[in-house]
Symmetry: C2
Subunit: 222 residues, 2 copies
Amino acid sequence: MTDLDGNHSVVSIHALERFPYYLNYLKSLDKENIKSISSPFIAKALDLNEVQVRKDLAVLNSGGKPKTGYVLEKLITDLETFLGYNNVSEAVLVGVGHLGKALLSYKGFEKYGLNIIAGFDINEEIVGTGVGEKLILPLTKMKNLCRRMHIHIGIITVPAENAQDICNLLIDSEIQAIWNFSPVKLTVPDNILVRNENMAASLAILSKHLIEKTHRPNSDNK
Amino acid sequence: MTDLDGNHSVVSIHALERFPYYLNYLKSLDKENIKSISSPFIAKALDLNEVQVRKDLAVLNSGGKPKTGYVLEKLITDLETFLGYNNVSEAVLVGVGHLGKALLSYKGFEKYGLNIIAGFDINEEIVGTGVGEKLILPLTKMKNLCRRMHIHIGIITVPAENAQDICNLLIDSEIQAIWNFSPVKLTVPDNILVRNENMAASLAILSKHLIEKTHRPNSDNK
DNA sequence: TAGATTGTTAATCGATTAACAATC
DNA sequence: TAGATTGTTAATCGATTAACAATC
């Protein structure tokens, strides 16, 4: 996997993965009119180590104070800025099957700063139709559109067999980051970031848990 | 997060996450009529360390041989068995919004051994209708149905505010594993496994990458 | 002030990788 | 046999956690 920024990024991927949980939790506190919060409190709520929380939050420079903790509102703003939710990024999606359609019509991405501007597919029967408010365009138009509109994110929801080809096409379209929903290890140049949404792994982990539970019944009932 | 099986599971989550990539790659080789494969070869293709590959595959007891490597077909079968793709697990999904609808209609889960049998929602307007071939039922019927049918997996696609309540309801319905698509750290008993599909984190990571690229242009162009 | 809390340095833990003997 | 490859033990690396001085 490509490193986040080559060298001096101080935030690990693991830390970055925790940030949305912090943000979501802090927002829920904000609704209850709480003004400040301490790291042990956050740690307790999210089942983390309090030092880890402080270390994570330290990168935001939100300046916690001994005795009182962090100012909730500042922490929320800083997290949103840091995570880039304030910048809107535009993306294209390739592969308008069931999953592709789902992501195209999902409104939830907007609040995280992602705007999918169109879907692309080779299937001529669906080209020209729309999903939600998003248009489905032929794959042949992708390169031109991405370059012209300076789109930087590509979402891959094609079958495994075609994933690498589509990936290459996206890179040729000057995409800089790829969100990959296929269970394929993509080969990309160093400067392209790939984030794998490994649903197959998730299912495997769930399934494994159930198998082990069935085979060794009651072994972990307290 | 709940440990996979409490104590003597030898496979780490990280290793488990790599398995779907092995499986997918090996299947692509199988199509090309290749009969056996070595760990250095797999490592090269998936950009991993060869020792890591051997260590991962060792848990399958597929018995690689010096000089020739592993028998491809056996490796594939063993991986599928290990990952539980041969067991079909049944699941219910709660929260039939855009994302929920998408997952309900997605056919891709079947080949990973997951069968979503129905969707549940509180919105009376959509209750009674269907998505794909899946029925949408009122939340009030969930507990009874899950218990009667011995459903073991619950998928959460409700908004963050409701995620914990739904989680509690699922546990009360005797669900044993939860696939959580909300950006919420769920609180569950030790024997319940939660797998978070952290889309918010993925977006944050993509976004962060783009921001850093913009701010320090050409710093990582080779 | 006394005590809670931060931020940082050092120790620990777990996972990855290197080294190597065994073996086909 | 010679060489490629496995499987395992030891070293390294990175992330988490514990210990603690600084501070409000």
